[in-house]
C-alpha cells in the first residue's frame, strides 16, 4: 500500500478541533482549503460526507467515485465524485493507505438486522448525521437538509475488503494512532462527519475514540 505524508505543518493550520467519540462535526470547507482528519488513537472509523456547498443535491456518490477510478479503495489521488459528476475534493495525502466506501454508516435499524433486534437502542452514525443536519438547518433557514440527503458515505480508516468471490468482509483496521488522511476541496464543500460510535464490530476496535480535524488555507493565501 502506498503511503503519502503531507508537508503541511499542524502549527500553520487555521482551524483545529477534536471530535469526541460518537459525536458529529459539520463545517464548510472552501475551495482550495485542506482538511486533515487524524485518527488520534488508531482504528477509528470516521463516516464522512461531502456536499457542494452551493447545491446540496450535488453530493458525494460512492458508486461514481469508485467507478471513475475503477478501484474500490480510496487513497491519495482519489477524486471524490458527486452525484452530478463533479469533483468535490481530492485526497492529497494518506498515511493509512486504504479507506472504505462500501460499508456505509451504522444505523439503529441496521444494527437490529446485523446484530440483534434488541440492539436498536445503541448510538449510531445515522443518528449523529441527522442531529448534525437538523442543527445546521436551524442555523440557516432555507437550506434544508433531510434524511434523503444522507447518501452512502466514506469510512475513513475502515478496512472492508471484497474477495474475488464477491464476499464483503470487515477486517481489523489497518490504521494506527496518528494516521491521517488529507483532502483538498476542489469546490466550496460542506463536510459532515460522524465519529463512529459502533460497539458491535471491530471497525472501532470495540472502543470508539476521538479524532482531530485540521484545516489549512488554500496554497498561496
Amino acid at each position: 500500500m502506498r503511503l503519502t505524508p503531507s508537508k503541511l505543518e499542524p502549527a500553520h493550520a487555521t482551524y483545529t478541533a477534536e471530535v469526541p467519540a460518537g459525536d458529529p462535526w459539520i463545517r464548510e470547507v472552501r475551495k482550495g482549503q485542506y482538511l486533515r482528519i487524524v485518527d488520534l488513537h488508531g482504528n477509528q472509523a470516521v463516516d464522512t460526507l461531502f456536499y457542494n456547498a452551493h447545491d446540496y443535491a450535488d453530493r458525494y456518490s460512492a458508486q461514481d467515485t469508485i467507478r471513475t477510478q475503477a478501484n474500490l479503495y480510496l487513497t491519495t489521488g482519489t477524486r471524490l465524485i458527486s452525484s452530478g459528476g463533479n469533483v468535490l475534493a481530492t485526497i492529497v495525502a494518506d498515511t493509512c493507505g486504504r479507506h472504505d466506501t462500501l460499508g456505509g454508516a451504522c444505523a439503529t435499524e441496521s444494527n437490529m438486522v446485523r446484530y440483534a433486534l434488541a440492539k436498536g437502542h445503541m448510538h449510531a452514525c445515522r443518528n449523529s448525521f441527522l442531529k448534525a443536519i437538523i442543527e445546521w438547518d436551524q442555523q440557516r433557514p432555507g437550506r434544508i437538509l433531510e434524511k434523503r440527503d444522507i447518501p452512502s458515505n466514506i469510512n475513513f480508516f475502515m478496512n472492508v475488503p471484497v474477495t474475488p468471490e464477491g464476499k464483503l468482509t470487515f477486517e481489523d483496521g489497518i490504521s494506527e494512532p496518528g494516521k491521517y488522511v488529507e483532502i483538498r476541496a476542489e469546490m466550496d464543500v460542506l463536510v459532515l462527519i460522524s465519529n463512529c460510535p459502533q460497539l458491535n464490530n471491530p471497525c472501532n476496535a470495540y472502543n470508539p475514540t476521538p479524532i482531530q480535524v485540521l484545516i489549512w488555507e488554500a496554497a498561496g493565501e
Binding site: R67, G85, R98, G104, V162, L168, F170
Partner: protein, 237 residues
C-alpha cells in the same frame, strides 16, 4: 403464461420503466437476447425517504454481489424485495449508472433530431426523468443495482467488467416484500467495454406469489435476513 401471471411487457433497449410493485407479487426480469443490463432503484412507495440502501444490503449479508437468496434492504432495516429465482448467479450492486458525459465519450453523439427513438440515452438521466414522474428528484438518486452485469474486484481493489455474465434467456425474479416503487432502465452498464451503443431489451413478467414462508430461501440465507424479514413483517402488522 401461468394463471398467476398478471401481465408481461418488454422494456425496449435504452428505455425506462417504473411501477409500484405490490407486496404479494414478484417481478421476473428476462434477458431475452443475452448481455442485457437492467439498472434499478427501489423506494418504499408509502414513504419514499425509505429507499434501497447499498451499504446496508451488502454489509448485512457480507456480499458484493446479488443472487438467489439475497435481500435488498432499505435504510430502515426492512427488506424491500428479495431474489427468489436467479439463473445468472451474480448481479452487480456497486458499478452504478452511466451519465450523459460518459455515454457521449464512449459512443459519440446521437440526437433525437437525427435518430428519433434510437438516440443515445444514459442511465442517470433516465432515472432522474422517471423519479420526476413520482415527485422525486436529484436528492432521491441512490446507488443502483445492475441486474445481469458483473463487476469483479481484485485484491488491490481494481474493478473490472466481467463479459458474458448473462446469456439469452437468463432471468432473475424479485419478490416485493413491501409496496416498492421500482424504477428500471436498460441502458448499458457504465463499465461495459463494448464500443458501440447497443443496449438490449428485457422482458418483464409480473405475477402473484405467496409471502415468504418460514423456510424461505431468502429468509434463511443468513441470520441477518431472518431479522430483516421479522422487521419487514412488523411494518405490516
Amino acid at each position: 403464461m401461468s394463471q398467476d401471471t398478471l401481465w408481461e411487457e418488454v422494456v425496449q433497449p435504452g428505455a425506462t420503466w417504473s411501477h409500484v410493485l405490490k407486496r404479494g407479487t414478484a417481478l421476473r426480469i428476462v434477458d431475452t437476447e443475452g448481455g442485457a443490463n437492467a439498472g434499478a432503484i427501489f423506494f418504499n412507495f408509502e414513504c419514499p425517504t425509505e429507499r434501497y440502501n447499498m451499504p446496508d444490503t451488502l454489509k448485512a449479508q457480507h456480499i458484493a454481489r446479488l443472487g438467489k437468496g439475497s435481500a435488498l434492504y432499505s435504510d430502515m432495516g426492512r427488506v424491500l424485495c428479495s431474489v427468489i429465482e436467479d439463473s445468472v448467479g451474480w448481479h452487480d450492486p456497486i458499478g452504478g449508472a452511466s451519465d450523459a458525459k460518459s455515454v457521449l465519450k464512449k459512443y459519440g453523439e446521437a440526437r433525437y433530431q437525427e435518430h428519433r427513438n434510437g438516440f443515445h440515452r444514459n442511465s442517470r438521466d433516465s432515472f432522474l426523468i422517471e423519479l420526476g414522474k413520482w415527485g422525486l428528484g436529484p436528492r432521491d438518486l441512490t446507488p443502483n443495482v445492475n441486474f445481469f452485469s458483473r463487476v469483479d474486484v481484485s485484491a488491490d481493489g481494481a474493478m473490472s467488467f466481467h463479459a458474458e455474465n448473462s446469456r439469452a434467456g437468463a432471468f432473475v425474479e424479485l419478490r416485493a416484500e413491501m409496496n416498492v416503487l421500482t424504477i428500471l432502465n436498460t441502458c448499458q452498464h457504465p463499465l461495459d467495454p463494448e464500443p458501440g451503443y447497443r443496449p438490449k431489451p428485457v422482458r418483464l413478467v409480473i405475477r402473484r406469489v405467496p409471502p415468504a414462508a418460514p423456510d424461505d430461501v431468502c429468509r434463511l440465507s443468513c441470520q441477518e435476513n431472518e431479522r430483516g424479514f421479522i422487521l419487514t413483517e412488523r411494518y405490516f402488522q
